[in-house]
Symmetry: C2
Subunit: 430 residues, 2 copies
């Protein structure tokens, strides 16, 4: 752990620097696979599934029989836990529904904004050691509430050609319309172009490794939207003597176990707390099954002492953490003044893992400083805002002159003429 005392503001950006990704060498591979999937569709998908996942899948689409078997195999205990999480996520995301915004901006000019669902969305769920069924909840629940018609989930098959039962159970529970055994670059390419079995979608959501991340970026060049650019997960905690060191340490470790490149930062106005947390980390890390991963992330972690809350806040806003835990005597100051953070966890009894699973907030959040300009996934991520306007004869008379003058000043005579014709027609009709 790196302890840093009173760093000068001009050093913050280098202290808090994230690991830079080198995508250039991956990009060529991703482009090649995209080209091949665009051309050869399912044939190319099968080839790369065989190559990367080491398995041949006869039928990409998960069958009803497979889903039934998965539902039967998940323990009642896990089912109940998932149901509770789903209920909270549903409540919080349903509350995010917005009403039609309607304004008569001037007499006779009615304008309104409505949000309508993105019709076809793709959800990517990584495979690997940890079956991320929680991410299924975080993406499929708001997609369903938003009213997306086609909700396509892609996840790589394991060596036996299967998807983890908990993922299938969650997908089925949340109303996913199609589940496909396909992962990696070939999944993103399939969702981008469409193949014989993979539907083309309008927006792709979900986490993934570097290959998936670069593939999602490339997808945007072919007309597909993505939830957000992705990077390694991050947690910044600001805590003082009102915090329980063991709790703080446990939260830092839960971030650290994600991966060796996880960003783990503690900012404090108390040297005592920093030391106590450091000791606690040493104790707790010994007991973790993913100790090796956590140790690497902890080795790169930063424990930063600053003189006061104002300096802490400025430093945190400059960093823009994905997850931000606030546990101080001065919580309201941070809550009110934080400008850049994905999700904020307040007080001793609000661990990050609550938001990761079951409190109701979404865990798909902006990393890598993107909290400065991107929202985490929320209900609106699955909709687009459309505007409507209806103008009466009276209305065009009220704004027509202004339009004519402005169009004229911009040198757009046909724009002006569209108004002039209408004003004349009204005039002549009288």
């Amino acid at each position: 752990m790196n302890k840093i005392y009173n760093p000068k503001p001009e050093t913050w950006s280098s202290i808090l620097e994230r690991p830079t990704k080198t995508v250039d060498d991956i990009e060529a591979t991703v482009k090649e696979i995209f080209k091949e999937v665009q051309k050869k569709e399912d044939e190319a998908v099968a080839k790369y599934t065989s190559l990367f996942d080491g398995v041949t899948v006869d039928t990409i689409e998960v069958s009803k029989t497979e889903i039934d078997a998965a539902v039967a195999s998940v323990s009642d205990e896990l089912k109940a836990a998932i149901a509770l999480a789903k209920e909270n996520i549903t409540k919080f995301h349903t509350a995010q529904k917005t009403n039609r915004v309607a304004v008569e901006t001037i007499e006779g000019v009615s304008c309104w904004q409505e949000k309508r669902p993105i019709q076809k969305v793709g959800l990517y769920i990584p495979g690997g050691t940890a079956p991320l069924f929680s991410t299924v909840l975080m993406l499929a629940v708001p997609a369903k509430i938003a009213g997306c018609k086609e909700i396509v989930l892609c996840s790589p098959p394991d060596k036996n050609g299967q998807i983890n039962p908990a993922i299938l159970f969650a997908a089925h529970l949340c109303g996913v319309t199609k589940i496909l055994k396909v992962g990696g670059i070939q999944a993103i390419a399939g969702l981008t172009f469409g193949t014989e079995t993979i539907p083309k979608v309008y927006k792709i959501f979900g986490p993934g490794n570097q290959f998936v991340t670069v593939a999602k970026q490339l997808a945007t060049q072919f007309g597909v939207a993505i939830d957000m650019p992705a990077g390694p997960s991050e947690l910044l905690i600001v805590a003082d003597d009102s915090a329980v060191p063991a709790f703080v340490a446990s939260d830092l470790l839960s971030q650290a176990e994600h991966g060796a490149d996880s960003q783990v930062i503690l900012v404090s106005t108390s040297k005592k707390l920093i030391d106590a947390v450091e000791d606690e980390i040493q104790l707790q890390i010994e007991l973790l099954p993913r100790k090796e991963i956590a140790e690497k992330a902890i080795a790169n972690s930063k424990l930063i002492f600053v003189e006061n809350d104002k300096i802490a806040l400025d430093l945190i806003n400059e960093y823009g953490p994905e997850h931000f835990i606030v546990c101080t005597a001065n919580d309201d100051f941070y809550i009110d003044e934080i400008e850049n953070a994905g999700s904020i966890f307040i007080g001793n009894y609000t661990p990050e893992s609550a938001g990761d699973y079951a409190s109701g907030t979404n865990h798909t959040l902006p990393t890598n400083g993107y909290a400065k300009n991107y929202s985490g996934v929320n209900l609106d991520s699955f909709t687009k805002a459309m505007t409507f306007q209806k103008i009466s004869e009276k209305g065009i008379q009220n704004i027509g002159k202004a339009i004519e003058i402005m169009a004229d000043a911009e040198g757009l005579q046909a724009h002006k003429n569209a108004v002039t014709l209408r004003l004349n027609a009204i005039e002549n009709g009288k």
Copy 2:
């Protein structure tokens, strides 16, 4: 004009195909200029301003004296028109403010969502023949309402090293914090990396030519967000015998005068209307100063006859027009059922130019089919949604078990431990 009768659904996508952009050859140039601006900052910016705009600008930032002179030189008539437009845009975008969404998802678990402004935004306003001061209103007004702290406007200088007075007037009126005489790729690069005089921003908005469009796309690879991918402007009108042919023709022409690559489409269930609109276009086009441009766009335009409103709607939803004018006996059907469109204009007295200038809706809209997955610029474009959560002892007891089970099933023991420690502490404290 191409008249097409009853096209089969399988031909729609080829009939409605947009011109494909070839960005590959531009991309190398853009990348090179980005690299140079990142390294040499203002020196590189000056070099490319001299190269592309043919002028040497001593001071990039527009001075107060220049602004005062611009304000004095704009006619009272244009000032009044801009003031009216600003008022309507302000009303409609202010109405888009959303409240804090707060939910106690389960006893003791409080979750809320708040939108906070993106602190630093860049607005790009193209130069050229048409001084797009209307776009200044469309971007700066919502940026100000959202509460963005730094609003930086870039626009290329003319041969005399000046920015059009109407642009300066509008920028000043709307509270832009810095106006810079810099355009093209070098402006986008400057806003992306920051230079001695150009501030680095978090999100870049605004239209531009192919070079600016590719530059904005490249900016996203350096952590900057953009409003949306851009393409040539589009208008699709659905009209029947309830529409006035002269009005329909004037709207198609106002789209056509934007550029030779503008997309102009009429869909109708009336052959009579199609013929009448065609005649009107021939009459009106003769009178336009930008006739030559409009003629090219009109030559590529499509007049499509379909049997009924249901077919028309399906075709329109497949296209996803940027601007969509509805002028039929069956307007409500289209309003209710349209899934993909940027902005919708309803009835005989609602020309597209109303939305371009003064009705109050935003004119920065998704082109090129992006209406399927992107919102037009709106108040939320200048904010990001952040979530907060505060959990009490009771709250963690209510959801703690579920988190432990789920974290365990995902193989994330440290996530589980962060909850277990807290549950034990509560237990032991009792």
